[in-house]
C-alpha cells in the first residue's frame, strides 16, 4: 500500500527527514518512533503531499499513486478516500463550527459516496444492529432520501464504539478520545485502505489512549487496513506494530521487525530509548 524509497524532505537547505526505505502492506502495522525534531511527522505528512513549502524528493507510492509526481487533483482523490490521516490534537483537528455529521457528509459527498458499498464486512452487521441504526439515522435528520449516506455514517461511527448521536455534536462538545475515534470513523466511512496516524494518543490520558489504540488495532485485524503510526512511545507501539523504524535528527537509525528492534537493538539510541522506559 505504501512504498517509499530514498525519501528526502528539506525546508530550504535543511534536511528534516531522510527515509531510505519504508513499506507498509495491506493489514500491516508499521510504526515510526522518535523524539521531537526527529522528522517522523514530516515523513508521515509527505506521504500525502501535505508538507507545503518543503522540497520532497525520492520515490513515494501510496495506493498505487506516485505522490511526488501526482497532480493536485490526483492527490485529492486519494486523500481521505483511500488514505486517512489521524492527527495529534484531537478537537483542534475538527472545524469548530461544523457538526461532526456535517463534516462526514461533506467528505462522503466530495468522494461521491452515496450509500453502503456492496458486500464487504462493513455492511454486513447483524440485523438488529442495522435496524437500530436506521432508526437513529432517521431521527438524526429525518431525511429518508439520504438514507444510504446516513447509514454509512452511523455504521462508521458505531464501528468505533461511538453513539451515532455524536454526529449532531460540535467538536467542543466531545472529548479528546471521542474526537480521535471520530477521525478514525471518517476513515471507515470513506472506505480508506490506509490510516496514517500522527501521535494519535499523545494528547490523551493513558486510560483513553488504550481505547484509541485498541480501535486502530481492531480495524487492522478485522478489515485488513494498513496502519502507519508515528509516536514517541516505544512501549505503546510495541504492542501493535509489526515493524518499527527509529528516527533521530531526521535519519532512520534503526529499522526492522518490532520484536528484533525491542529485544536486540543495534543502535545505541534505540538502547537509550528502551532504557528510558519505566
Amino acid at each position: 500500500m505504501i512504498e517509499v524509497r530514498d525519501l528526502q524532505v528539506r525546508y530550504g537547505t535543511r534536511v528534516v527527514a531522510r527515509v531510505p526505505e519504508l513499506d507498509v502492506g495491506a493489514g500491516e502495522c508499521v510504526a515510526i518512533v522518535g523524539e521531537s525534531g526527529s522528522g517522523k511527522s514530516t515523513t508521515l505528512l509527505s506521504l500525502l503531499g501535505l508538507t507545503e513549502g518543503a522540497d520532497v524528493s525520492g520515490h513515494v507510492s501510496v495506493c498505487g499513486v506516485e505522490v511526488l509526481q501526482a497532480s493536485p487533483q490526483q492527490l485529492r482523490r486519494i486523500r481521505g478516500a483511500r488514505v486517512a490521516l489521524v492527527l495529534q490534537s484531537p478537537q483542534a483537528a475538527l472545524s469548530p463550527t461544523t457538526r461532526l455529521g456535517t463534516l462526514m457528509r461533506r467528505a462522503l459527498e466530495l468522494h461521491g459516496i452515496t450509500g453502503p458499498r456492496g458486500g464487504g464486512p462493513e455492511t454486513g452487521g447483524p440485523e438488529t444492529g442495522g435496524s437500530a441504526g436506521s432508526r437513529k439515522e432517521r431521527s438524526w435528520k429525518g431525511r429518508a432520501s439520504k438514507g444510504g449516506l446516513e447509514r454509512v455514517m452511523v455504521e462508521a461511527v458505531e464501528a468505533v464504539m461511538l453513539d451515532p448521536e455524536i454526529l449532531r455534536r460540535y467538536p467542543h462538545e466531545i472529548s479528546g478520545g471521542q474526537a480521535q475515534r471520530f477521525a478514525i470513523a471518517l476513515a471507515i466511512a470513506l472506505g480508506a485502505e490506509v490510516i496514517l496516524a500522527d501521535e494519535p494518543t499523545s494528547a490523551l490520558d493513558v486510560t483513553v489512549q488504550a481505547e484509541v489504540v485498541g480501535v486502530l488495532h481492531g480495524l487492522r485485524e478485522e478489515r485488513g487496513l494498513a496502519l502507519l503510526i508515528v509516536s514517541h512511545d516505544l512501549a505503546l507501539v510495541s504492542t501493535i506494530a509489526d515493524r518499527v523504524l527509529v528516527m533521530k535528527d531526521g535519519e532512520v537509525v534503526e529499522s526492522g521487525p518490532a520484536a528484533d528492534v525491542l529485544t536486540r537493538p543495534s543502535h545505541p539510541y534505540t538502547r537509550e530509548l528502551l532504557e528510558a522506559l519505566p
Binding site: I78, A93, P96, T97, A107, L110
Partner: protein, 338 residues
Amino acid sequence: MLRYLIRRLGQALLVVAGVVMLTFVVMRLVPGDPAVAFAGPKATPEQLAAARERFGLDDPLWVQLWNYVRDLVTGDWGTSLHTRQPVRDDLLLAFPASLELVGAALLLAIVAGIPVGVLAARYKTKFPDFGVRVASMLAVSVPVFWLALALQTVFASNLGWFPVAGEYDSSLDTTSPLTLWTNITVVDALITGNWPILTSTLRHLVLPTLVVAAYPTGVIAQMTRAMLIEEAGQDHARLERALGFGETSILTRFALRPALGPVLSLIALVFAYSIVNGFLVEAVFNWPGLGRYAASAISSLDTPAIAGVTLLVALVYVLANLVVDLLQGLIDPRVRPQ
C-alpha cells in the same frame, strides 16, 4: 441563556448610564450660559431668571443630574436651542436619514468586503492578495470629507452623472408627496409605492454611500482576509486537506464561519463609527441626517441638541454591540451560552 442575557443587558445598561453621566458632565463644562443662549443676548434679567428656572440651573448639581436622567427616561430629551423643537422630535427626523445612508453603505461594505477578503485569502501572497491589501489600505486611509468633495466635484458637478446634494429632488414634494411611516425615505417610498421619490433618492444615495462605504469595506476585507488565513493555518484545515478538500472549499465551507465571528464584532464597531463618519459626508452632500443637525447645533452652541445626538449615537453603539454579541452564538457554537 437567560442568565447570560440578563448579565449582558445589565452591562449594556451600565454603559448607557456611564454615557449619560459623562454627557451631563461635559454639558456642565460647556462655557456660555444656556439660559443666555436660550433667552437671547438682549433678554431682561427677569427673562433670564425664568430661563434659569426653566432649565433648573439653580438646583444643586445632583438634583440636576437626577432631573436630567428622569427626563431622558420619560422621553423628554430637552428642547433644542436653535430649532426650538423638542430634541427628540428633531432626532426622530434626522436619525432615519442617517440610518438610510449608513445602512446602505454598510450593506455595500459587507457585500463587497467579505468576498474580496475571501479572494485575498485564497490567493494569499499572490497578486490578487496584494491588490486587495493595497486597495483596502487606501480605502481606510482616505479622508472621507476630501473623498466626498472629490467625488462630488467630478461625478456631480463636472460630469453631472449624479445629483450634487440633498436626499431627493425637493420639487417632488409637491408633485408626488411622500407619506411618512418610518421616516426612512427609501423604505417609505417603497411601502407607499412612490416611484419618483424612490428613484430620486437612490440616485442621490450613490455618491454619499460610496464615500461612507470606503472605510468599512476596507476594514472588513482586511479582517476577513486575516481571520481566514489564520483559520486556514489551524489544525482542522490540515485534516480537511487530508480528506481531499480543495483550498477554496476549505476556506468557504470550513474556515469562513469561524472567521465571521470577529468580522461581525468589527461590523458593530464600524456601524457606530460610520454614523459619525457620515456626519462629514452629510455636511458635504447636504444630507438631512444627524450630521447636518449636529453641525448646526455646534455652531449655535446648542448643548441639548449635541447631548441628544451624542446619547443617540452611544445608544446605537451599545445596541449594535449587544445584538452582535447575541448573534455570535448563531455563528460560532463555542460562544453559545449554556
